[in-house]
Symmetry: C2
Subunit: 440 residues, 2 copies
């Protein structure tokens, strides 16, 4: 039983993080940017030194029988380290939002009232495998003036410790407290339970990982959680629609990568264009081996195999659409993260919105249309973190949105929604500037 030790370890980490967060909140823009540039330099100077601990993690992972693609994700290659260093430099070059005062307005009483952007304090992050997340999280924490407690995967513990030491060195050399970034030093699972239950020391928890992990953490946490559950993203092909564009965008949304949370998992097609559109997208997806889970109406269209203006290759490919299987109710909820797409024919934009609001995980949903009114209605009524018109759902990403970096993607409505960047790690407090006013 080392539970009491874990308790004490985590309490100490929490106390130190809270204290460090005060110093970070006081710190100047220059010091925080210096720490980021210092960290970039240290990462580049330590490409070789990072290999030894990383190799130990890899060896342990292989011994434990981890599949090679999973082992791959643990690797700290020179290229990955350079990407981390560049990320730190990009953050350093971004404007500082801490201390911004927005909406300062004169009130009838004489006082001026506005809101100041301040760090949220301390965030805890729980993540798996890729050790570069340690640098991403630490650098966002530094830029936003927070302190953080990071709990990486046990399979990457040696790599994470080596990276964390560089972060602390960078903080110190910029005159900031080392404890503004702390790595949970133990792989004991009890540490996670402690981390999510210290409201005095930790203001918010950001879990990154499987749905099971996030649901468990959300249920047990005693502080707010920035949740990223699943990405059951929809693309709706409207009537009227530029179908050439729709083929290109749906193809990209589904097949550019299968594993990201912003890949499209469900295709809705307006009845008016279904017979023309489905065979065309079917040909493209069949050529890539995508399984189609179809409602009866779309299945019927694929079966009819109507004459198409397709080139020879696509004509051949459409013959390969043997992979049409009937969709079950569960398919409309599913995040496949695989070459599978559910397909449903709907009457029009209204039914599409209804279907999406019912089955979507509220992550990202898109309409492809040439109708302005339909676009406006979809934007307004679809209740998801990102709602798109004529663009691939794959764009739902902090970098693509211009946030500079992303600590996660929230499927919640509360506080931060969608890609969470620096602002998601801050809060707005009210500031009142008076000249001795009193209330009458």
């Amino acid at each position: 039983m080392n539970a009491p030790n874990v308790f004490e370890t985590m309490q100490l980490l929490g106390l130190q993080a809270r204290q460090a967060s005060r110093a970070m909140a006081r710190s100047g823009t220059a010091a925080r940017n210096q720490a980021l540039r210092e960290l970039a330099a240290l990462l580049r100077a330590n490409v070789q030194a990072l290999q030894a601990p990383n190799q130990r993690d890899l060896a342990r992972a292989r011994e434990a029988g981890l599949a090679e693609p999973m082992v791959d994700r643990l690797k700290l290659t020179p290229k990955i380290i350079e990407t981390c260093a560049e990320g730190c430099e990009q953050l350093a070059a971004m404007p500082d939002v801490i201390g911004d005062i927005v909406g300062l307005k004169q009130q009838p009483s004489g006082i001026r009232v506005g809101q100041m952007r301040v760090p949220i304090g301390v965030f805890g992050m729980i993540y798996e495998s890729r050790p570069n997340v340690t640098i991403e999280a630490a650098s966002l924490s530094i830029k936003s003036g927070n302190a953080c407690i990071l709990r990486g995967g046990s399979e990457a513990i040696e790599s994470n410790k080596a990276l964390a030491a560089l972060v602390q060195q960078a903080l110190e050399s910029a005159g900031l407290p080392r404890e503004a970034m702390q790595l949970v030093p133990t792989t004991d699972r009890a540490a996670v339970g402690q981390l999510i239950a210290m409201p005095d020391f930790v203001d918010v928890i950001i879990p990154r990982g499987g749905k099971g992990l996030i649901e468990r953490i959300s249920a047990e946490a005693k502080v707010p959680v920035i949740k990223h559950l699943d990405g059951n993203c929809h693309t709706y092909v409207d009537d009227p629609c530029d179908l050439d564009m729709a083929v290109k965008v749906v193809d990209n949304a589904k097949t550019q990568k299968y594993s990201p949370c912003n890949a499209t998992e469900s295709l809705l097609v307006a009845r008016g264009v279904a017979a023309r559109f489905l065979p065309r997208i079917g040909a493209v997806l069949a050529a890539k081996g995508v399984e189609l889970r179809c409602d009866p109406e779309s299945a019927e269209i694929f079966k009819k195999n109507e004459p198409l203006a397709l080139d020879g290759q696509a004509q051949a490919a459409i013959k390969n659409v043997v992979n049409v299987v009937p969709a079950q109710e569960q398919d409309w909820y599913e995040e496949y993260l695989a070459p599978i797409l559910s397909i449903k024919v709907v009457a029009g934009v209204e039914e599409a919105i209804e279907h999406i609001n019912r089955y979507s995980s509220h992550h990202t949903d898109a309409i492809l249309t040439t109708d302005h009114g339909h676009a406006q209605r979809f934007l307004r009524e679809v209740d998801s973190a990102s709602v798109m018109v004529n663009a691939s759902t794959r764009f739902a990403d902090g970098f693509e949105y211009g946030l500079g970096a992303e600590i996660g993607i929230s499927t919640d409505k509360f506080h931060a929604r969608g890609p969470v960047g620096i602002e998601g790690l801050t809060s707005l407090k009210w500031v009142v500037l008076g000249g001795g006013e009193v209330r009458g």
Copy 2:
């Protein structure tokens, strides 16, 4: 055992609220403003009709032995009803924020990305006594395009039912769903347990009441809670400071009303001005019978009773400062809501900030100073929902801040902080406007 009935009642309320929230999200500005003006008219037309149910509540309260000040809070006087009606009209006249798109920016990929303000969906509100809160909550809900489920105090159930009927009539006459505002029809306590545990139907809970109630709800809720715990507000008199202004502001902050959460409960005074300031404010507070819970240094100053430039009345008053009692550690945490003030002498702005960040409830804290640097530091470093310079803490209020109305005051950092108006009942979702872009 009517628990199953309560369960079914609440599930039905939730389902209807969720459906109504979709219609509200779709609704136009004009319809929502019309509902608000209609409600104002109905309130004025029903001043007399509201008296009968209100009298029944009052009679029941008196029978139950409720103290007369508590009975008073239940009263729906013509003046209170008129204030409610005016509140509805003021909200109707305010600009609509729903559908606003902010920060729409062109990205290198070609897409334009911004954030659209949308209703949060359904909020549940749990409150006590004053039936006018029913109108305040319902009108904010209508303006912000949400649906709400309201659970008022059992002592005001008849008044609340009568008011809720008017709200539903106003909604209907504006072509909006009646179910956009529903009152929990039972006084069974199990209903509260249900209301806070329906994440499918309710997006956020706003409790208003005692600290015990709010802590219990926060601990048990399965959805986010906009918490207003306590208001242990500080006023810090800095060195240098305009002491005439400080006497006026501290007097107002403490004594203008004792019961509001934004009243000052703790006075910090810089050592450099303590000997000059404390006797002056002591005289003012003594004249009003305020008990002073003092640290040893401030107690010593009061005892010395140094010569002061006071008028005769104040000279007499200061002799009445018999009410100096030694502060205990617990006093620094206390929200008295009474004619009691804790007082401590500090070295300067740094110690004041440290004390406040340690003991404050993060509600509202003020510095009174003529030093620009001290003011800037206090604004930046005090970790509270409202931070003020040279103003009475009593200004921390949605109306005074220009929010038009206030559904509560949040002492949390997450989502909404400080006075919560319409924007606190909304969320920002990302919108992406493309022209067929795909991700490379």
